[in-house]
Symmetry: C2
């Protein structure tokens, strides 16, 4: 998909421009942050930010700083997730995880830096009004905090091994995975500064909520059916860490069915936007992903 | 000082209002964050935010949300600083450090949450304009990132044991300690939204830069001369962790002289403000502190 490549390139071209020089005495923490940022993620979230900005009638370039900010936040969460006191993963996207490459202290600080940098990036963006920046920042911080992504990580790690209801499992997925995807989409809407913002926010939320859950269930499925080579990270990790997964609770078949259902719900929310063809294709592609 | 007590109470009364309910499934991470927030810090930074707002001619209440935000950021830095892969401190302000009380996973996530929450708090503040909020956020994030506080922590921990020039030591102090104090003071200036903002920014920066270094040198001195009971944290830690300190580089006498000199420089920057009497008193008190 040529359009997808363009969105990815837009984000990647501008991902590194806000960092101080690596030659500074504290250069290692800057190198570590860039190392993890450049480790070849799928860039789904910064693509979504641009796509939603465009679907709301604005030039997607308006959302580029914010798209980069979302990718910093995602990368922070991966670095800290891999730490020994969290999932203790040595591999991430086929490369040594950040603490394996740079040591635990530097990885901790690089993660911290990437959790704070999004707000500098959005607040420095010349492309959007202060009012739009404040909306993006409030939304991103709220969805990443204890009511969102961090709350989901807390349940995921601190309650590993405990009995979890199906309801709590879905609520954890919503926090752990949907929340940041929702931030990515909503920030795109806010950057567009459209008069129809309120309506767009409703449908972007609905899309992101369902896509996130579908995405997380796919992740569970791949941890069971994928290979380490294909995924670039160790598989079978969830079972080993006694993690709650949809597959473990409901079995593989039901998990595959649920992933499809949540994706259909996401697709139907897209109908509220005028030109959603590309986003529909992207969504179907994400469901069919092997990694 | 009655006025100081009032500023502290203002901040403490509103410090906890943005947190989700502790009864949520992820409640432990919320409890851990509040535990560290309530561990009895001196609240110097949120006091400075209010004080600078008032010195710039505005009601200090305008800066209250932002003052709370600064205290979240400070608390995040303490929680992560105490972690085993950083300073590995079991005690903080006379109580078990966050990871001793809640475990390493929850402490890591509580710190993460408190590094992100400041931005939600500032962006949600009804007391300031979006334009002032954006200035506060940009400044706070920049001064806490790899060019500021986190950069200083990186040098402090990753270069422990290495030879450090006097120049690099001061540059580390500027990043590790002055940066967040500067953010506290500048955010106060921005919240005031004064027409003389540019001039105030200059002198607030100069004040904070020097106060921060004086403050850090005092900390080094207390680590050598103070007792664990007085400080509420283990002393002698710096030498044990092979940390660079001003005392170690220059000796106790020169350190005490330098602390006084930097404080005098800070005091002289205050002369640019109309009514700086209280801030002068506060600054002298901070130099004389036993903890």
């Amino acid at each position: 998909m040529e359009k997808l490549e363009k969105y990815i390139k837009n984000a990647e071209d501008r991902l590194y421009e806000i960092f101080p020089a690596e030659t500074l005495p504290q250069g290692d923490v800057i190198k570590a942050a860039k190392y993890s940022l450049s480790a070849g993620g799928k860039r789904i979230r910064p693509v979504l930010t641009q796509v939603f900005c465009e679907m709301c009638g604005a030039d997607p370039v308006k959302a580029l700083d914010t798209a980069c900010a979302i990718e910093y936040m995602h990368t922070y969460s991966l670095i800290h997730d891999d730490l020994p006191c969290m999932d203790n993963d040595d591999l991430r996207r086929g490369k040594p995880s950040c603490h394996k490459a740079y040591g635990e202290t530097t990885a901790l600080l690089a993660g911290d830096a990437l959790a704070i940098l999004p707000f500098e990036r959005i607040a420095s963006s010349a492309a959007i009004s202060p009012s739009a920046a404040v909306k993006c920042i409030r939304t991103l911080a709220n969805l990443c905090g204890t009511a969102g992504m961090i709350g989901g990580q807390q349940i995921d790690t601190a309650m590993a091994g405990e009995e979890l209801s199906g309801e709590l499992l879905l609520s954890m997925y919503s926090m752990k995975t949907s929340a940041l995807i929702k931030a990515a989409c909503l920030c795109g809407v806010y950057c567009a500064e459209s008069p129809e913002e309120e309506r767009y926010v409703k449908y972007a939320s609905e899309y992101a909520e369902n896509l996130g859950i579908a995405f997380q269930i796919m992740d569970d499925i791949l941890d069971v059916t994928g290979s380490t080579e294909e995924l670039g990270k160790r598989t079978g990790n969830d079972a080993e860490n006694d993690k709650h997964t949809y597959v473990r609770t409901y079995g593989l078949e039901k998990a595959e069915k649920a992933a499809k259902e949540y994706t259909e719900k996401a697709l139907s929310a897209l109908k509220a936007f005028d030109d959603s063809e590309f986003t529909e294709q992207l969504t179907r592609m994400l469901l069919g992903r092997k990694k």
